[in-house]
Symmetry: C2
Subunit: 235 residues, 2 copies
DNA sequence: CAGGCGCGGATTGTATAAAGTTTCGCCTGT
DNA sequence: ACAGGCGAAACTTTATACAATCCGCGCCTG
């Protein structure tokens, strides 16, 4: 009875069908199975999940609000294709928010949470050794989400969910090499700092972790892209 | 032709009907004409705007995602009633984000922007002297949004829109006195600092501004409320 | 007379059908 | 042979009809 009697806005487990659709599509995007620009037809998705277009539509609208799907009027829904400018904004926002999140996570430190984090690290390591790139990508995003959940700050959590989803698309589009998704070592270091309640170390490690991810990106100028196209066509 | 050729996800001017509904309801909430807990019936709104329930539904879902409307399954949509915990989270997030936003605004300083800001300040002052509380509340929120637009950071802008809308509800619920919505003097000081390109002053003033707003709130413990009820019923 | 049960009204959730728009292919005219 | 326009198909958008759910009121029973 001491359980939080707060159903709040959206049930996270998602017993309803629209959430199942949303999470299915989200997972597909996060695991890089759906590529940017892919058309997400209503009929198509509806048939997959055995749902009517009405439900698919609501799910797609939610995803559009989260920034991982673009809905073009009278054209349909497409997996978003973040521009380099978007990418810079996303990572700047993450550099601002995530250090604060780990700070809160330190306040919430407990054996249970440390256990969850370490279990997650084990999962990540296993996926990487298995060479499962898709699981690896998803899990490295989940790590950041887990820390945000630990912080207990629901607004930061909501913001970060958005940022992580977009980051996944950005990494897919602009990663230079096929280096591992997110250095697991970094994650382990962050967990260690959290466990030791060392705020400054935790913040610093999170920050450098994000910097390293961004450093691996090659954010070509979007204008350059269009110009190049114009050149090619003009020549 | 040099205009931004970026229709992007949502057109801000909103020529379509669902945006008109969304913005109408949003304005009503921001101006404190719709009180927290108010039932937002689909038929009711649909008749007001001459739209079908389908469109009203999408608008309400968007507002739910922004956190100013709660949709309870099989019950309907209600104006959100943020808890004190929510309030603390919202203001903490604003204290984190807004100083960064003004920092970016300094980078974007130009006569045109300074003009817009000062015109806005004049509007605010006029509404306050006129004693128009509703316009005052709306305009003081718009000031923060304007600075975010100036920063050119679309992600921060999106986050801040959410935070401002929720702040409006929080202020309505938990304000102690009927002091003016947002000290216009603070806003003027922030604009002055931006104009002088004094980053540190701008950040500091924004921060103290937010602190003062939060200091005017009386965030009673929600648990205490429930417990008090239990006591009364138990006695 | 009090308490519980069941039914009716109202409202939301879902599906389906009609309407409008865009896109692509084809056909005709030069 | 190629450019331009017409037309059909597919899709999204919007509206409406149907089904499920919940709340409140009245009635019946103990």
């Amino acid at each position: 009875m001491a359980a939080k009697s707060r159903p709040k806005s959206d049930a996270p487990d998602a017993s309803d069908r629209v959430s199942r659709i949303r999470e299915g599509v989200t997972a597909a995007i996060l695991e890089h199975r759906l590529l940017p620009g892919t058309k997400l037809g209503e009929d198509e998705i509806g048939e997959i999940y055995g749902a009517s277009r009405t439900l698919v539509r609501t799910a797609l609208q939610q995803l559009a609000h989260e920034g991982i799907v673009n809905i073009e009027k009278n054209r349909g829904a497409f997996v978003a294709r973040p521009t380099p400018a978007d990418a810079r904004e996303v990572f700047e926002a993450r550099r601002l928010i995530e250090p604060t999140i780990v700070d809160h996570a330190v306040d919430a430190v407990s054996p249970a949470w440390i256990g969850r984090l370490q279990r997650h690290l084990a999962e990540e390591r296993e996926a990487e050794q298995r060479g499962d790139a898709r699981a690896s990508v998803r899990l490295s995003g989940d790590f950041h989400r887990l820390v945000a959940e630990m912080s207990g700050h629901s607004i930061y959590l909501g913001f970060l969910k958005e940022l992580i989803a977009r980051s996944s698309l950005i990494i897919l589009l602009y990663r230079r090499h096929d280096t591992p998704a997110c250095g697991t070592d970094h994650h382990a270091g962050i967990v260690a700092a959290i466990r030791k309640c060392d705020r400054e170390a935790a913040r610093a490690q999170m920050l450098s972790h994000l910097n390293e991810i961004e450093a691996e990106l090659f954010l070509k100028d979007p204008a350059a892209d269009e110009l190049r196209l114009a050149d090619v066509l003009g020549a």
